[in-house]
């Protein structure tokens, strides 16, 4: 019984092992201490940065941009995905375009969006929204197209109209796949936002923080910013998983 209780702690084993190796490496000076600060120095820098310094502000900025771009992407991609998915012919006719731009690295679009929107938040958010939208669109459309045929027939046999079948059945059938799209979309949006913050004349954001710390050779601050970005990515994924479990309770059952 005690063993069962201990199993809850399993996920921490890897973390502790990593911290131990890291501490050992810095203590033994296996790596130049300028390149690899100790875990304690790093977490001190993270704590100070998050609560007393600029890192906290940058963190919030990146969260804002990622969330805005995901919301914009979802608002465009979900209705469009339902529309395209409800007619397989319609989807097939634009499938190549979706797959093509989905495969285009969004970072390659930066110069284009810079010309369109100038240097500022609008560019970062719109590039990220563009990338996320295609991922969400693709998933929603497939979710609608793969709606169980029996369930649609069941609704039709009960006299449901086409619009009602779309609304009551296909839309709900596509929800699990839509959430897959949203999770992938928000991850991609975060990647694009962080990259955009690094390179397009940015003054804030986690990407800019990582980049600036590297330029100033402030390694603890750089690691702190990297961990903050990691925590953000993990947290966003967890948030969407929680929402999914709450609203799509039937997923996978």
């Amino acid at each position: 019984m005690n063993w069962k209780r201990m199993q809850v702690l399993l996920p921490f084993v890897g973390v502790i092992v990593l911290l131990a190796i890291w501490s050992f490496a810095t203590w033994m000076r296996v790596v130049d201490p300028v390149l690899l600060p100790s875990p304690i120095a790093t977490f001190k820098a993270m704590w100070a940065g998050m609560f007393h310094g600029k890192l906290g502000i940058d963190f919030v900025k990146t969260v804002e941009r990622t969330i805005y771009s995901t919301i914009i992407a979802a608002l465009i991609a979900i209705p469009l995905g339902i529309l395209l998915g409800s007619s397989e012919k319609l989807y097939r006719s634009v499938e190549f375009l979706i797959d093509f731009f989905r495969s285009t690295p969004a970072s390659a679009m930066f110069p284009l969006f810079l010309v369109l929107f100038g240097v500022g938040d609008r560019t970062k958010i719109s590039v990220a929204a563009f990338g996320a939208a295609l991922v969400i669109l693709f998933n929603v459309a497939y979710g609608v197209m793969n709606a169980r045929k029996t369930r649609i027939l069941a609704a039709r046999v009960m006299g449901a109209s086409r619009v009602r079948v779309l609304w009551d059945v296909m839309l709900l059938e596509s929800l699990p796949q839509t959430f897959v799209g949203l999770r992938n979309g928000v991850s991609l949006a975060l990647v694009i936002v962080v990259v955009a913050e690094m390179f397009i004349g940015s003054v804030d954001g986690l990407g800019q923080r990582v980049f600036e710390a590297q330029q100033m050779f402030d390694m603890p601050a750089m690691y702190a910013a990297i961990f903050a970005a990691g925590a953000l990515g993990y947290g966003l994924n967890l948030l969407f998983l929680t929402i999914e479990r709450r609203f799509v309770h039937w997923s996978g059952k």
């Binding site: 169980r148 029996t150 369930r151 027939l153 069941a154 609704a155 039709r156 046999v157 009960m158 006299g159 449901a160 009602r164 009551d168 059945v169 709900l172 929800l175 799509v248 309770h249 039937w250 059952k253």
Partner: protein
């Protein structure tokens, strides 16, 4: 009402006619799939207020038949009328073999049963009342606040039978409703279906791949040939209800079952 006004028959004559007239008339039904002709100019009358089973060799088009009658598949040609009316003028219920995919997992069982009423535009209070009435009539002891995936297979299929019955259908179709259930549940569900039939006397068309089940439950057994399917024989079995395990040991049951089996095997060999 309008039909009554148009018909030059006395009340009594009309009542007598509706008592004995077939419920469903199938005329000139034809259906081709790419590799085979399943139905070619098929005619058949489905009797009113009887439980009828459709039985025949594999691939002869048992399910296809009720799917076309219920409008799930289009027919190539022919006419199917319900008391002279087309399908979209009547209320009917349909129970799928695959209850897991026919239920809506995002709705609680109660709302699944109420869904066809919602489609018909019945107000919420009346929907609730009608679902509660059918639960009481069938003496169902399932927690309808559960979601379908929280229920056993038999409970889910019982919910989907209730969903088919809640609209007070004139006719009920069941496509191999028990074949995805284990044997214990199948026996239980046969009794449930028999009770539904005894209580409502709804014209029922059952597709079955189990001859014993077909004979046990039915008043009429339609035996089909290999495709293109034609009615080989329309067997009558009028043992009183409720039928029980004892019914299956009676000579009449055994004879009818043996007779059906003989015809079935003759048809299979012809293929």
């Amino acid at each position: 009402m309008q039909a009554a006004a148009a018909m030059p028959l006395s009340e009594n004559a009309r009542a007598a006619a509706t008592r004995t007239a077939p419920h469903v008339t199938i005329r000139g039904l034809s259906k081709r799939f790419s590799d085979a002709t399943i139905y070619d100019n098929f005619d058949f009358d489905i009797p009113r207020g009887k439980l009828m089973s459709v039985f025949g060799p594999n691939g002869c088009g048992k399910s296809t038949l009720i799917n076309m009658i219920a409008g799930l598949f289009p027919m190539d040609s022919g006419e199917i009328l319900f008391d002279g009316q087309p399908l979209n003028k009547i209320k009917f219920g349909y129970v799928f073999q695959n209850y897991r995919e026919a239920m809506f997992p995002w709705l609680r069982a109660f709302d699944n049963v109420a869904y066809p009423l919602k489609v018909m535009g019945v107000p919420k209070a009346e929907r609730t009342a009608r679902v509660e009435r059918i639960v009481a009539n069938l003496n169902v002891k399932i927690d309808l606040n559960l979601y379908p995936y929280q229920m056993s297979g038999g409970q889910q299929q019982l919910v989907s039978i209730m969903r088919a019955l809640v609209v007070d259908p004139e006719i009920l179709f069941l496509d191999e409703p028990f074949s995805a259930l284990d044997y214990e549940m199948t026996l239980f569900m046969r009794e449930q279906l028999q009770r539904v039939f005894v209580e409502t006397n709804t014209t029922t068309v059952l597709v079955s791949h189990d001859l014993e089940e077909a004979v046990y439950l039915s008043d009429r057994i339609l035996l089909l040939s290999r495709h293109p399917a034609r009615p080989v024989e329309f067997v009558h079995y009028d043992a009183p209800r409720p039928r029980t395990d004892k019914t299956m040991t009676e000579a009449e049951f055994i004879n009818i079952k043996a007779h059906c089996l003989e015809i079935f095997q003759r048809e299979v060999r012809k293929g």
